[in-house]
C-alpha cells in the first residue's frame, strides 16, 4: 500500500500537515512525530508489517503497542481515502 499521490505533506516546525489536492477530503490532517513517520513511510510502497518493523527499529516500545498505533493511523488515513491499497 502507498499514500495516494494527491496527498501532500508539509512540515510545520516539527508538525506534519497533510492535505489532498483531489478535493475529496477538504480538511487537513495534523500528525505528531509518530504519525508523520508512518505517513513518510507510506510515500513508498510498503506493507503493514514492514511499517511495524521499521517502527520497532526506531522506537523502544512493545510490539503490541506499535501495532495498535500503526493500525490506528492506517484507519484514519483510510477514512480520508488517502491510501492506495
Amino acid at each position: 500500500m502507498k499514500l495516494k499521490k494527491e496527498f501532500i505533506t508539509h512540515n510545520l516546525d516539527g508538525e506534519q500537515i497533510m492535505v489532498s489536492a483531489a478535493g475529496t477530503f477538504k480538511g487537513f490532517l495534523k500528525s505528531n512525530q509518530t504519525a508523520a513517520f508512518i505517513v513518510d513511510l507510506l510515500k513508498s510502497d510498503i506493507t503493514r508489517e514492514e511499517i511495524i518493523s521499521k517502527m520497532l527499529e526506531k522506537y523502544d516500545v512493545p510490539e503490541n503497542v506499535v501495532s495498535a498505533d500503526v493500525d490506528k493511523i492506517l484507519a484514519i488515513l483510510r477514512k480520508v481515502d488517502a491510501i492506495d491499497e
Binding site: E6, I8, L12, A21, A22, G23
Partner: protein, 250 residues
C-alpha cells in the same frame, strides 16, 4: 462568438477570452492597455466543472445547492484558472475581507457567514477616510521577499466591495463571534490550520505543495490574532486598539 478583454490584477496582465460577457463586466475596473503576459480562456466543460464543484461544496457545508447561471459559473472558472496561474508568482487566493488602515493592510478571515464583511464595514464607518476597502471576499495575496501584499480584484463578493489597489499586510485576524470584543495574539502553529482552510487549493499536487509553503511564509511575515467580535459598530475601534496594543509591545 467569444468575448475578450485585457486586464491587470495583482500585477499580472492577461487576456480573458470567454463565452459570455459577464466576466468582462465584472472586471471593468481592471481593464488594461498593457500587453498581456498570458491568456485565460474558458470552455463549456469548465462551466460544467464549476457547476458540479458548487453543488458538492454546498452539500459539504450542509447548504441547499443553488442553481447558478452559466455566465456566473464561467467567471468562477476564470478565477480558478487565474488563481492557478498566480501561484507561479507566489500569489495565493485567500478568503478574507481585506482593508487598509493608514496604508497598512489588515485581513479578516473566517468561514462564510461569521461576520467578516460586517466587521470590515464597521472599520470603514469608524475610521472614514483613513480606511480603504481592498477586497471583501477573495483577494489575491502575494508573498515574496518577506512581504505580504494584498490586492483588490474583480471577485469582490456579494456586496461588491473593494478597490483596484493594494497594501502591505501587517495583520491577519481570524474572526469569531463573541460576547465581548477581544483580541488574542496567536502564533503560526495556532493560525496555520485556519489560514490553510481559507486558501484556494489547486488540484495540481505540485502547486498545492507550494501553497502549503506560501501560507507558512505568510504566517511568518505578519502579526496573527484570534479576534472575538460583537455585532456592535464599536467593535472596530475596540478590536483595532486591542491588536495595536499587543503589536506595539513587541
Amino acid at each position: 462568438m467569444s468575448f475578450k478583454g485585457v486586464y491587470t490584477i495583482a500585477g499580472e496582465t492577461f487576456l480573458i477570452e470567454t463565452l459570455f460577457e459577464y466576466t468582462h463586466l465584472q472586471c471593468y475596473n481592471y481593464v488594461s492597455l498593457k500587453k498581456p503576459e498570458f491568456t485565460l480562456s474558458t470552455t463549456k466543460e469548465d462551466i460544467e466543472y464549476e457547476r458540479k464543484k458548487a453543488k458538492s461544496e454546498a452539500e459539504y457545508e450542509g447548504l441547499r445547492a443553488e442553481e447558478y447561471k452559466d455566465d456566473y459559473l464561467e467567471s468562477l472558472a476564470v478565477l480558478r484558472k487565474l488563481s492557478d496561474k498566480m501561484l507561479d508568482d507566489n500569489c495565493i487566493l485567500f478568503h478574507a475581507s481585506a482593508l487598509a488602515l493608514d496604508s497598512e493592510g489588515y485581513m479578516f478571515t473566517a468561514k462564510s457567514g461569521t461576520g467578516k464583511s460586517t466587521h470590515s464595514y464597521f472599520w470603514h464607518k469608524a475610521f472614514g477616510d483613513r480606511c480603504t476597502m481592498i477586497n471583501d471576499d477573495k483577494p489575491f495575496v502575494k508573498i515574496e521577499d518577506g512581504k505580504v501584499t494584498v490586492f483588490g480584484s474583480a471577485w469582490n463578493g456579494k456586496h461588491n466591495v473593494g478597490n483596484n489597489t493594494c497594501a502591505q499586510v501587517k495583520t491577519i485576524a481570524i474572526l469569531h463571534r463573541g460576547e465581548k470584543n477581544e483580541a488574542k495574539r496567536i502564533d503560526k502553529k495556532e493560525a496555520y490550520g485556519m489560514l490553510l482552510q481559507q486558501t484556494y487549493r489547486p488540484s495540481d499536487p505540485i502547486k498545492l505543495a507550494k501553497v502549503l509553503k506560501l501560507v507558512e511564509t505568510m504566517a511568518d511575515s505578519v502579526s496573527l490574532f484570534d479576534i472575538y467580535c460583537t455585532l456592535d459598530p464599536n467593535s472596530a475601534v475596540e478590536i483595532y486598539n486591542a491588536m495595536k496594543g499587543q503589536t506595539d509591545e513587541t
